[in-house]
Structures are given as C-alpha cells and as structure tokens.
Symmetry: C2
Subunit: 152 residues, 2 copies
C-alpha cells in the first residue's frame, strides 16, 4: 500500500519533471495533467509563493524565456509516500531576457533541488531551491546590475 503510493507519487512527479520540463513541446499540457489547479510553487526561498497552476505556468514560461535551451540532468531521486525529491544539474545559456535585463549570452552550470508533494494523483505543491547569487555570478551580472534587476 505504502509502496504503491510511493511508486505512484514518483511516476507523477517525474512525469512533470521530465515531460513537463520547460524546453519540451507541450510542457504546459503535462502540467495540466499532473498538477492540481490549486498547485503552489515555493520558489528559491522567496517569501511570496506562486499560487495556482496558471500563475505557476506563466512564471515557468518567463524563466525559460531567459534560458530557452536549458538542459536538465536529474542526478538522484528519493521518494517516500506522497513526497518526491530530486536533485538536478542545469546546463544552458542565457539567450533571452532574464530578471529584467537583456540576454548576456553567458553559459551557466549549476545545481538545484526540487521537492513535490502528490495528493490524489496530482502534484499539489513544489518547493525549489537554487542559489541565485551563484547563478548571477556565472552570468557576470555585476552588483549594480543585480541591484537594478532586483528593483525592476
């Protein structure tokens, strides 16, 4: 029973993670199929969460606007009951507007960690952590640029 729950949670979470990755054609439809309409995204320690599936899809589209070819390699998965955590490495290039500034053209190579909670066959929340300070360093965003972007 518990084993079945774990395997079902893993299957749904990894479908969102892989088929729903922002470079995949039809990722929005995968989110529609795997997430609850009340899906909440807790993103990178920000005080404000992104509430609702439609808002989360818009937020994701904006992120991938900055990195349209961003490649994800999932390096480990741990699933237990309704919880599915995974680590990934991201490799890509800043080829579009990001954080309110134009593309830098610079390469990024960074790790992140995701945690999804699955209830009644749908992802109801997702926590994501990635160090934006290191990301900005790789993008060559100067302190002044970073400040301007944060205020924009």
């Amino acid at each position: 029973m518990l084993e079945g729950l774990r395997e079902a949670s893993r299957r749904i979470a990894l479908r969102k993670a892989i088929d729903g990755w922002g470079t995949q054609a039809g990722w929005q439809q995968v989110w529609d199929e795997t997430c609850s309409p009340a899906f909440i995204s807790y993103f990178c320690g920000f005080r404000e969460s992104v509430k609702g599936l439609e808002a989360a899809k818009a937020f994701n589209a904006a992120l991938f606007g900055g990195f349209p070819g961003l490649e994800q390699t999932i390096t480990a998965v741990a699933a237990e009951g309704e919880h599915v955590a995974y680590r990934h490495r991201l490799i890509g290039r800043n080829e579009g507007s990001f954080l309110g500034r134009p593309a830098t053209g610079r390469a990024v190579n960074i790790t992140g960690m995701t945690w999804m909670t699955v209830q009644d066959g749908r992802v109801v929340e997702e926590w994501y952590e990635l160090n934006h300070d290191e990301l900005k360093r790789q993008l060559g965003m100067t302190a002044q640029d970073a400040s301007a972007a944060a205020a924009s």
Copy 2:
C-alpha cells in the same frame, strides 16, 4: 532489506541534521560519529565542493559564526535506500561576521533543502541548496556590499 536500509539511512542522516546542527553543544562529535572522513559537501551550487570531514566542519563553524542562534525546523523528510532528503526553514539573526563583513543584526527567515547519501553507516556526501541572493536581500546587504563580500 531495502526498508531496513532506508530506516538506517534516515536515522543516521537525521542524527547529523538535528544533533549535529551547528548550535548544538558537541555538534562536531556528532559529525565525527555520523560522517565518513572522506565526507564531501556540495554547497549551494558552488563549483568547488568542500572535501573532507575536517574541512567541512571548519566551513560549518564559519557559517554558524555569522548566525550563532540559528534555529532550524525540519518540515519534511523523504528517504529511499541510501538517500535522505529533507526541507527546513531557518530563522535567526546575523549576530556575527558573515561573508567577510561585520554583523548586520538583521533577522532572516528562509528555506533550504538538504540531501545526504549514506553508505556503510556513514554520511558520505551532502548537497545543500539555499538562495544566497534572497538571504543577502534579507540582510540588507547592498549590491556594493555584496560585491565586496564576494571578492573577499
């Protein structure tokens, strides 16, 4: 068998996470008892890992030097086989030198995620992700301060 491995991994990882938290008396001894001497810490997306248990303890001591009363609340755990992931919320105050600058006295409230891998009864590696950019924002570190700290 697999269940036993999961429970053993969880017990060891959470002992390091809780009894080995940097505000606990004797945390270093808990690290000695729960970690491999070859322990590697992959910290917040930095390219360079911290290699070896002694180096990791020194690194941890420096972090808690900045936040000597930092409180951790573990909000979820997922364990599978040799892998143990958990989320936490950190609440504290910057009461000591951090990132090369003096204490700001400001409060922080932020989330992070940890992933430990346990082999032969010891934690062999730990991945940690927290958004330093948000942390710096809460500390009121201006762009110029942040730049100076990064260069220090």
